[in-house]
Structures are given as structure tokens and as C-alpha cells.
């Protein structure tokens, strides 16, 4: 690590032009340019190796074994993956997760952007107070978000069904109907996810040059046209980031749904991380669960790469 060629802070040119004495002091300085950052990043490097590289490698190894949490590792090749691709409950969890993602990400995106647009519009009164109220769900843990929405949409005791019965409707089976239960989860996700994405959008919207919007206004563009043709392209990088982060977040949704429906009714709304947790911990099929994890990781990577490519093409 103290090898002077490691450092690029001092270019070869400056070395060559300096005399022998000078280059010796430069050598010393170069060393400290290597050692100082090493000291600074040291702890995080160790943490990275221990808590990312090690479990990551272990997970990959597990996925080729029939490990059950104890005993020796017994390699079984691709058997886990073969079994996994024939496992209907795995497909059910994976497709339910995709459905959840496809529905919740756009909802979260639209609500965060809409709220951010209103909060940056000078035509709106009381923006500071509104911002604080809408930001509050950010403080609430996914578990409690689940509890709050479970309470609101309780089938026999919830406020929503109470209001529906007040106006003469029949109680809606929010927890015994799989699709309705998923809808509640999606609402809850949007409610909890708006706050943070809204902050990102507010920062982006404030960076759009007012001159551009004013010029468009003078040219007779309507508010919608201005939004569509000036604002949206202007915040494209942020939009991309919000969609990417929300998609990855939705794909690994776990605590909120655990509290809200626990994957129910039955196992109808079991999402992929919950499936991994159940097989890996409750049934102790570590090897099998690790194979499922590898599939999830590949999916996450693919999503990131596809969105990255899409973003490039647009730019």
C-alpha cells in the first residue's frame, strides 16, 4: 500500500522535473497521501468486508448447498434453482411482488411529484405548514405505518368501513380479499413513501431556472404545457432516481406488509422477502432461501441496469 506508484495525486511529470532531493520529499508526501486516506476509510473497509463481502459470498455458496443452518455444507449443484423454478409458491411471491411494485411505484411517484409541485408553487398559501404535515409519515416506522393502516381499514372495526356503512354501503372485505388487501398495502406504501421523495422533488423543482418558465409563459404556454415541456425534462435526473429507489424499495418491501397483513389473506400477498424469510428462518431451509435471494439480487440488478440504460437513452 505504501508503494509510491499507487498514488496519482502527484503526476509523473512533476517527479521527473524535480531534482533528487525534491523527489525524495515528494515521495514522503506521496506516502502520506496514501496512508492518511487509508486510516480514514479503514473502519468502513473492515465493515464492508465483514458485513457485505462475507455474507454475500456465503449466500452465493449456500445457494448451491442443502444447508439447514447446522452441520456441514453439502453441495448439491443447481438443485435448489431447479426446485425453485418449479415452485409455484415462489412464483406466486415473485409475481405478487412485481404487481405490488408496478402499482405502488407510479402511485408514489405521482403523489410525491404532485405534492412537491404544489408546495413549490407560489400560488399556494401555507406551504410551510403543509410541508411539515405531509412530511410527518417519514418519521413513522414501516411497522407502525402498517399498524396505522390496519387500524384504518379494519374489516369489522375500521373507520373506512364504518363510513361506508354510514352512507348505506356494505362493509368491504379489506383483509379477506387478496386484491383489496394488496390495495391497502399500496395506499399505505404511497402514504409512507411520499414524504422523502417529495423532498427530492422539491429540491429539483427549485433548481429549474425561473427564466425558462417565464419565457414559456410569455410564449403562451399553458400551465400544463409548461409543466410537461419545461419542468418534467428539467427534473428528469431526479425522477429517474426516485423511480429507481422506489422500485428497489418496493421489491424488498417487508416490515410494513408484515405488520399490515402478514402476507394475508393466507399466503396470497406474501412478497418475495417475506418468502425468503419464511423459508430461510422459520423452515430453516437456508440453502433454498439463499437460492431465492440470489434470484432477487439478479432482479434488483437487472432493474437498476435497465433503468440506467433507459435514462441514458433519454439524455
Amino acid at each position: 500500500m505504501t508503494n509510491p506508484t499507487m498514488s496519482s495525486t502527484v503526476t509523473p511529470e512533476t517527479l521527473r522535473t524535480g531534482g533528487p532531493v525534491r523527489s525524495k520529499s515528494q515521495l514522503k508526501r506521496r506516502n502520506r497521501y496514501v496512508i492518511a486516506p487509508l486510516i480514514l476509510i479503514g473502519v468502513n473497509v473492515v465493515l464492508f468486508l465483514v458485513f457485505f463481502v462475507w455474507p454475500g459470498a456465503l449466500g452465493l455458496i449456500y445457494s448451491f448447498t442443502d444447508y439447514r443452518g447446522v452441520g456441514r455444507l453439502n453441495f448439491i449443484g443447481l438443485a435448489n434453482f431447479q426446485k425453485l423454478f418449479a415452485d409455484s409458491s415462489f412464483y406466486a411471491a415473485l409475481s405478487r411482488t412485481f404487481l405490488y411494485t408496478v402499482l405502488s411505484v407510479p402511485l408514489t411517484y405521482v403523489s410525491s411529484l404532485g405534492v412537491a409541485a404544489l408546495l413549490t408553487s407560489k400560488a399556494v398559501r401555507g406551504r410551510t405548514a403543509a410541508k411539515i404535515v405531509i412530511f410527518l409519515p417519514w418519521l413513522i416506522s414501516p411497522i407502525v405505518v402498517g399498524v396505522i393502516w390496519k387500524w384504518l381499514f379494519g374489516q369489522d372495526f375500521g373507520f373506512v368501513n364504518f363510513v361506508i356503512s354510514l352512507v348505506g354501503g356494505n362493509p368491504v372485505p379489506w383483509s379477506s380479499n387478496g386484491n383489496l388487501a394488496l390495495a391497502v398495502v399500496i395506499f399505505a406504501a404511497a402514504w409512507g413513501g411520499t414524504a422523502f421523495n417529495m423532498l427530492l422533488f422539491i429540491a429539483a423543482l427549485k433548481n429549474i431556472p425561473e427564466a425558462l418558465l417565464e419565457a414559456a409563459e410569455l410564449d403562451g404556454a399553458s400551465a400544463w404545457q409548461r409543466f410537461r415541456n419545461v419542468t418534467l425534462p428539467g427534473i428528469a435526473p431526479t425522477s429517474f432516481m426516485v423511480i429507481l429507489l422506489s422500485t428497489i424499495h418496493a421489491m424488498k418491501e417487508f416490515p410494513m406488509i408484515q405488520a399490515l397483513t402478514n402476507g394475508g389473506p393466507g399466503t396470497e400477498n406474501t412478497l418475495i422477502v417475506q418468502y425468503i424469510y419464511k423459508t430461510g428462518f422459520e423452515q430453516a431451509k437456508v440453502g433454498y432461501a439463499s437460492a431465492a435471494s440470489m434470484v432477487l439480487m439478479v432482479v434488483l440488478l437487472a432493474i437498476a441496469l435497465i433503468q440506467l440504460r433507459f435514462n441514458r437513452k433519454k439524455a
Partner: protein, 305 residues
């Protein structure tokens, strides 16, 4: 991973440009203020949305003050007919909530201090020293965002167990110290600090570490606070790590304890409502004291952890 490396620098640039623009937009804003009229429909729409967002929480909090008998008796009323603190008291005493509260606070505070400090160190090194080592580690940090804990639950458990951290608070604290977001936040901040500052300190003979501790760390105070609040929120609300690491109920954190109440066959709603509301309070308090560091932060990188 290499392709993903293109994202943060762009983001960083955006943040830096944003900072420079603030002054200009301020002037423009003042110019516009005069002729933009307040729009009643837009204001109405905004406040309707606020009401929709506030309602679930409001209903939840008001319900927590109702006695158990009133919770399920139709017709429901928004305002409790009879106010009571019984749910809170039951949660606090019966469920050993004080212990969970203490555990959570310990974890959140210690992890936050460590995260902020080591993120500052790493972020600074990644921003101001450009060599193969730091460049490689930057890509490594990026890679961690692609490998969330959720994907490596079982192997993580094995690692925790083999390190002897199973069933201890240290098992939650130590692995949570490294966060990509924290490192990126500091890196972006230090990228905007002019190199001249560094060079002149070097000419004055200051050692590299002294420059960091005496000059760079103090000027990063705003980022320091922002990350501290984010980190505190992440750790206070964290569920996955405590779920994997903790087994003995005496070490439970609030989230795991809440999950065990809501996961029960017959949910004890009065206790659950009280317990949930108590669990939110510290964060609300922290938020209202430090809200400017959250709401005004020029947040860009993947701040969700």
C-alpha cells in the same frame, strides 16, 4: 456495478450547482413574488391533500386515547367520548416497554454517533484523495446499495453468530455503522469544499489527519446534523436487523416488540395503539427541534436506507 458508478457524480454535480443557484433563484423569487397571485383552487387542493395525509395519523392518535370499550363500539366518533391514558400505561408497564425503549435508544444513539463519524472520515477520503484505493472503495460502497440486507438474511445471520454478536445490541450496532448514503452525503459535501483550503493547510505544515479533524470536520457541521437525524430515524425504525440478531425478549427493540403485538392471534388493540404512539414520540420530538436540517437539506443521493 461499474455502470452504476456514473450516477452519484452526476448527482453530486447537481447538488453543487444547486447550491450556487440558490442565491440567484432567491432574487428571482423576490421578483416574482409581487405578481404571483394566491390561487384559491390550488390552495384548496393542497389543503385537501394535507387533510388526506394527516387523517390516518390523526385517527390513530385520537383512537389511542379511547378506552378499550369505545374502540370498537359503533358508531365510531372522531373525538374520544371519554379520554384515557390507560392504553399508554398498559403498554409501558405490561409489555416491558420501558426496556424496549431503552434498548432502541441505546442502539439509535450509539450507531448514529459512529455512523456520522466514520461516514465523515470515509466521505472526506473519497472526495479529497484520488488514488486507486479510494476509487476502488467508492465502487465497493456503491455495490452495497445493490446488495441490501434483505437479500442476504441467512448468511448475515451466520456471520453475526460466528462473530459472537448474536442476541446482543452490539450485533445491531456494528453492522449498521457503514451506510452508503452517509458516505455519499459527506463525499458530495467535501467535493464542494475548495482544494485551496487543503493546499494552504498543507503549506502551513498541518498533517493530513489534523487537516481533517481541525478544518474539514468542523465545516461539515450542517451535513453532520442532517446525517445524524437520518441515521437516528433509520435505526429507531429499523426492523430487519433486530429481527435477525435478537432472540431474547429482554433485548428487543420497539419495532420487534410492536411486531410481536400486532402479529399475535388476538391483537390487543388498546396496548398496540398506545405502544405505537409512544414509539413515534421521540422521533417527532427530534424532528421538531432539528427540522431545518431535514426539510432544507439538499438531499440527493439514495438517502433511503
Amino acid at each position: 456495478m461499474a455502470t452504476a458508478a456514473n450516477l452519484p457524480p452526476a448527482v453530486a454535480e447537481e447538488a453543487a450547482v444547486g447550491a450556487a443557484k440558490t442565491a440567484r433563484t432567491q432574487v428571482q423569487r423576490n421578483n416574482r413574488q409581487g405578481r404571483t397571485k394566491v390561487s384559491a383552487p390550488l390552495t384548496g387542493l393542497m389543503w385537501l391533500i394535507v387533510a388526506i395525509y394527516a387523517f390516518p395519523l390523526l385517527w390513530f392518535i385520537l383512537s389511542s386515547f379511547k378506552p378499550g370499550s369505545e374502540l370498537f363500539s359503533y358508531p365510531l366518533s372522531m373525538i374520544p367520548r371519554e379520554w384515557t391514558f390507560q392504553g399508554f400505561m398498559d403498554a409501558w408497564e405490561r409489555v416491558d416497554f420501558a426496556q424496549y425503549f431503552l434498548n432502541t435508544a441505546t442502539v439509535a444513539i450509539i450507531t448514529t454517533v459512529l455512523t456520522v463519524f466514520f461516514s465523515a472520515c470515509t466521505g472526506y477520503a473519497l472526495a479529497k484523495y484520488n488514488n486507486k484505493g479510494t476509487r476502488l472503495f467508492f465502487v465497493c460502497i456503491l455495490a452495497t446499495t445493490m446488495l441490501p440486507t434483505e437479500v442476504i438474511l441467512n448468511p448475515t445471520f451466520t456471520v453475526i453468530r460466528d462473530l459472537g454478536l448474536y442476541n446482543s445490541l452490539a450485533g445491531i450496532i456494528v453492522p449498521s455503522v457503514l451506510t452508503a448514503t452517509g458516505v455519499f452525503m459527506f463525499r458530495q459535501f467535501f467535493l464542494t469544499v475548495p482544494d485551496d483550503l487543503l493546499h494552504s493547510a498543507r503549506i502551513d505544515g498541518a498533517s493530513e489527519l489534523a487537516i481533517f479533524f481541525r478544518i474539514m470536520l468542523p465545516i461539515s457541521k450542517p451535513i453532520l446534523f442532517t446525517l445524524a437525524i437520518f441515521s437516528f430515524q433509520w435505526r429507531w425504525n429499523d426492523y430487519i436487523w433486530p429481527l435477525i440478531v435478537l432472540n431474547d425478549p429482554k433485548w428487543y427493540t420497539l419495532q420487534v416488540a410492536l411486531r410481536s403485538i400486532v402479529g399475535a392471534e388476538n391483537i390487543d388493540w388498546p396496548v398496540l395503539l398506545g405502544a405505537s404512539v409512544i414509539s413515534i414520540l421521540p422521533l417527532v420530538l427530534v424532528f421538531f427541534v432539528f427540522q431545518k436540517y431535514v426539510l432544507n437539506a439538499d438531499v440527493s443521493a439514495g438517502l433511503k436506507d
